[in-house]
Each structure stands twice: as structure tokens, then as C-alpha cells.
Subunit: 346 residues, 2 copies
Amino acid sequence: MNLKELADALGLSQTTVSRALNGYPEVSEGTRARVLNAARSFNYRPSTGARNLATGRSMAMRHIVPLSARHDMMNVIFSEFMSGTGEVYAEHGYDMIVSFVPKDKELQAYRDAVARGSVDGFMIHGPTRDDPRLPLLAELGVPFVVHGRSTGYNVPYAWLDVNNRRAIERATTYLIGLGHRRIGLVNGPEHMDFALRRREGYLTALASAGITADDALMTAGDLTEPQGYNAAQRMLGLSNPPTAFVASAILPTLGIRRAVEGRKLEVGRDISVICYDDKVSTLPNGDTAEPMFTAARSSVRDAGRRCAEILIDCINNPHLPLRQELWEAELILGGSTAVAKKEPTR
Amino acid sequence: MNLKELADALGLSQTTVSRALNGYPEVSEGTRARVLNAARSFNYRPSTGARNLATGRSMAMRHIVPLSARHDMMNVIFSEFMSGTGEVYAEHGYDMIVSFVPKDKELQAYRDAVARGSVDGFMIHGPTRDDPRLPLLAELGVPFVVHGRSTGYNVPYAWLDVNNRRAIERATTYLIGLGHRRIGLVNGPEHMDFALRRREGYLTALASAGITADDALMTAGDLTEPQGYNAAQRMLGLSNPPTAFVASAILPTLGIRRAVEGRKLEVGRDISVICYDDKVSTLPNGDTAEPMFTAARSSVRDAGRRCAEILIDCINNPHLPLRQELWEAELILGGSTAVAKKEPTR
DNA sequence: TTGAAAGCGGTACCAT
DNA sequence: ATGGTACCGCTTTCAA
């Protein structure tokens, strides 16, 4: 059933039917009701292709995900973020298109999508330092929102970020306040902007307390359970091991716990751990009143929702200033931190 | 730059240019080269909307994800599967559209997408027993592939499934062979077809060994770390506790390990554990030669890739018989299983 | 308040 | 081998 057939069935013109359907004011209430009724009973839906062509808008947002060998991006956090954006898109009638492209074709994929007119806006995931996508998108003149920021690119753009630096600085300072001086860092991949900022936060906290940073206590990787395990294993085996850890996600924190317990030590008694908790539904930080781990927490799903709202706003109001939001993470107390013991635990 | 402008720039007709671009044979090699060249230098791409309208095809596959309260679906496994499908779609020029819809609007979303002509095929995730989506899709007459199967719906349809029943039966039988008679089951949500089949496999293995199933040793839930922890805590507290566990995913298995270690017991010595391992890149089952857990293993990403191929094949060859593939999981030996001790460990 | 008709940017049939 | 042109289904301007 297309518009013409619907109009014929009603004995009206396509124009009137289209107007009635799209809520234009110049249609009499009587006809509007008739049209809406008929449309419902025939289960009529306007063809997206045709509407696309006629309006020049695609009603679709695109998320381009590079297929890197290790699939850095397509992880738990990414999908949680996406489901936040997807909810909001759906509420506003937008489709979400997800493109997986080989890393070396990534930039071209943005160009292509714009040239084909298949997209109204882009959501940018996982910005790196000096991310090459941002200048490209600015050049293409298409709306986009970045989840995070890109150190080194200083032209204004729309973004939403958590204050990663501050969150980890607070977490580290808290551990220092408990008497810890040897604190291990298990970070995410440090070409990613968020991981860089977290590292800065960690270093700032140490510096403020007059503690010299030790390369042996810092590691960066892909935030898996084994990453945490391996890092903790190595660090706990040092002649001067850490008494506490800061980890960039729950998964490596589970690995840290495994390493700690493997040495007959206990998290929250012998070894303190704080992690960054993105509040991923499948990886809850415990499910009781007291969280499993003390954590810096913020919701990626909420971030996704808000990013989508910002993107839609960019499209609807192209001349408003670009939105930039910095969210603060909260520090929540769990069972994984305690005052440092006087004697190093070995 | 559109087709007309490109044709004008070349001094050719739109027809010829279109033919050259789409690989039609009746174009001289000279003109084809010229056209291809010009298209490249102008960075010309055909408008998706226009092509959509003209061909009646959208070159897009849709994944509809219900927004259930607990977000059953948007989990680690789901995104791993999606990235498999997405890769293949991209290789074949298809877009992947992901729609998040409230559960009560799910079926309507399929109808809508078909009525708008915005999709060439659907990928169906997480089928349940008597899944209502399958008869609907059959009625709509649109190509679709199911990842899994739906017990109770017996009309032929295209699917790819892992032999969940057999995999868990083998795993359970293996534990029984090691001397375990009290085996706990930590399963996924049992309205899902895969979870039902796994339970059947578990029960079959027990029955074959003459072991009476015990409701207190079976639990179903959302496959999170706390689910495994809580289930194991409860079961290990029974007067007649299990000496082994079968778990439906890595995450709850990590929780089981936590509960076991919390009782000063050791996995792989005091308590045996086998889990189902979907080979999710962010949740590897260890990263060394020996897997952390003994496991029934199959790759969701590969399943995603294959499902996408099948879907594309359905579209290209609508009259071929529907493909149905049953994959066997492999049972891999890790460090989490051992011969049962004579005395129950408490 | 309603209708006619000109696009939107391609594809593909029918001529030449 | 190349070109003219009628669609595809909708939106939107202009006219009535």
C-alpha cells in the first residue's frame, strides 16, 4: 500500500493525505481523522526510500566501528553505550546504522556515507589523542557528537565526556589517604583519550602526595579479566609490591582479585582495589547493598542516551552553539578498600 | 555530485554512466574507464535513497532488539555476534540497522520495517520457545535467519544453532565420569530456547547415569557474575552440597569461583566447574596455553558471520531450500575439573 | 481546505 | 555502444 493507493481509496489527493499524515495544520479535522483511520486500518507506512529522496534526510544515525584485530571497541561498554543511544534514536524516529569497516577504510567510510546521503549524523566512539576523524567530519560539515574528547584537536565540537582525570585522581588520592604508597595502575589502551586522562589523574594524585611514580606499577591493556590477573601477578611478585590497585574497569578487577586470592591474600583486607565502574548491566558491581568494589562510577548507558539527545539537537538546531558536557563520576564505597597495613604484605 | 552532474561533466548520458558504474557489459571499455575515473575523482556515490526507490531494495539488514527491563539481549554475547554479522554485511555492501524497541512494540516493529520497505532481511536473536516472531515473519514473507531455534514452531525456516543440548550433556557426562554425582547447574533464562536445551542436556546426562535430578541444584538467571556467586553460595551451603558445577557462561563461572574460594576451597581441586564458553573477545577463557576453565566452546562471532552469509544467500536465491545448520561445540580441557573426592567437601 | 504537478536521484526499458 | 524517458513513492510549491 502506497500513498497513491491510500489516497485513491479515500477519494482524496496524495497531497491532502500526506499533509494529514504529517500533521500539517491546513487539513480539516474531519479529513484528518478519516485519513489517520484509513492509514491505520491498511497498516500504511511511508516508504523510507521515497521519503528520504524527497526530504533529503535519511532519519538515520551512523556508528562506524573499525574492525581492529583485537576488537578494542566492540566490548561490553561499547554495546551498553549503543543501547543507550539506540533507545533515544528510536524515541525520535531515527534508525541506528552500525558499520563495521577495516581500520584502513575507516575514514573513507565517513566520506562514503555522507556522499550517499545515507546519514543525518554520526556518533563517534572511543576518540584517541589527535583523532583524525574529527577534522574530517568538520570538513564534511556533517553533524556529529563525540563520546569522550580528543586531546590535541582544539576546534570546537560537540562532546560528552566523563571527567576521567578527576575520577581517577580522586580514587588514587583516597587510597593514599588510607595510607597506601605503592599503588598499581591497570589501565585501558593508552592511545585512547580516556585512558590517557586516567593515567594523568593517577600521576597527579601521586605527585600531590609526593610519591614518585614507578613504571613497574603501571600497565595498560585491553581491560580483560586476564589482563588484570597478569598485571597483578607481576606486580605482587615485585620485591616492593603494591598494597593497592586502581583499575580501569570491572573485568580486570576480577582478575586482580583472582591474583590476590591466589596468594592467599584478601581484597579489602590485605590489598585494596578501586575500579572504574561503567555500570554495565551484565557486569554489575555486586548486586547487594554494599558494592563488591569501591569504585568511581558513572553510567555509560546514560551517557549514550545523552549523546543521542545532543546529536538530535545538533541536527534540529544547526545554529546553536555546540554542546559540551563534562560529567563527574561518583566515588562509591565498597568492600574492597581498607587502611594500608604497616608491614608490607608478602 | 549526483548522476546527472557526473554525466554532464563527462558529456555522456545518465544511462551510460549508470551502466558503466554498475558493471553492465554493453559499455565500451574506454568509456567505462573514463567514467570510473571521473567518479573516483569527484568522489561520486549513488544516493542510497534514490537507489532504494528505484530498485526496491534497501541494502540493509535489520536487527530488532527488545528493550526488556534487564536488557537480557544487549549483552556481551549479543554484541560479539553482531560484530560477526556486521563484518559480513559490510563485505557484501549491506548496512546493519539496529532497532531498540519496547517489548510490547516488538512485533509491530517488524511489520513497520517491512511496510516502509526499509529492510531486505531480518536477523533474529535469542529465540524463545514458541517464539511469536517466526510465524509473523513467515506471514510477512520477508527473508530472515534465526540464531538458534524455537522449540514449538515447526514450519521450516533458516537457522543456525549450536547443539546446546549435546554440548551440556557431554559436559555433564564428563563430570559424572570423574565421579561427581552432585552437580549444580547455573543456567541462562529458561524462557530462552538455548537455555531450555542446555537444561535438557544436563537432565539427560544425569538420567543416563541413574542420578536423580535435584531442584535445589538447578538455577536459571541472567548469566552475570553475581548470579553465579549467589547460586554457588546457596548450593554450597546445602547439607548435601554439589562437588561440581555446570555454568552457561564465563561470567557466572567467575562468580562461582568467587564463592568457592570464599569458602577456602579451590576450583579444579575441591570443586570442579565446566562452563559454556562463547569465545567472547573481551571475556577470554584465560589467555595461556591451558584455559582457565574446562569448557564447551563455540564461537559466536563465527556464528554471526555464518548467519549473515545465510541471510544474504536467502535474499539472492529466494527459491533455494532454507538453510539449517547445527554446529557442535567442542569440549576443551582446562584447569577447573578434577576427579571427585571421596568425602564431600564442606 | 484541497488538488495538480514538479522535483528528489537513481534504474532500466525501449529506441537508435 | 549509447541515449531518451518513464517510472519508483513521497514532499512541497503553487494554484484554485
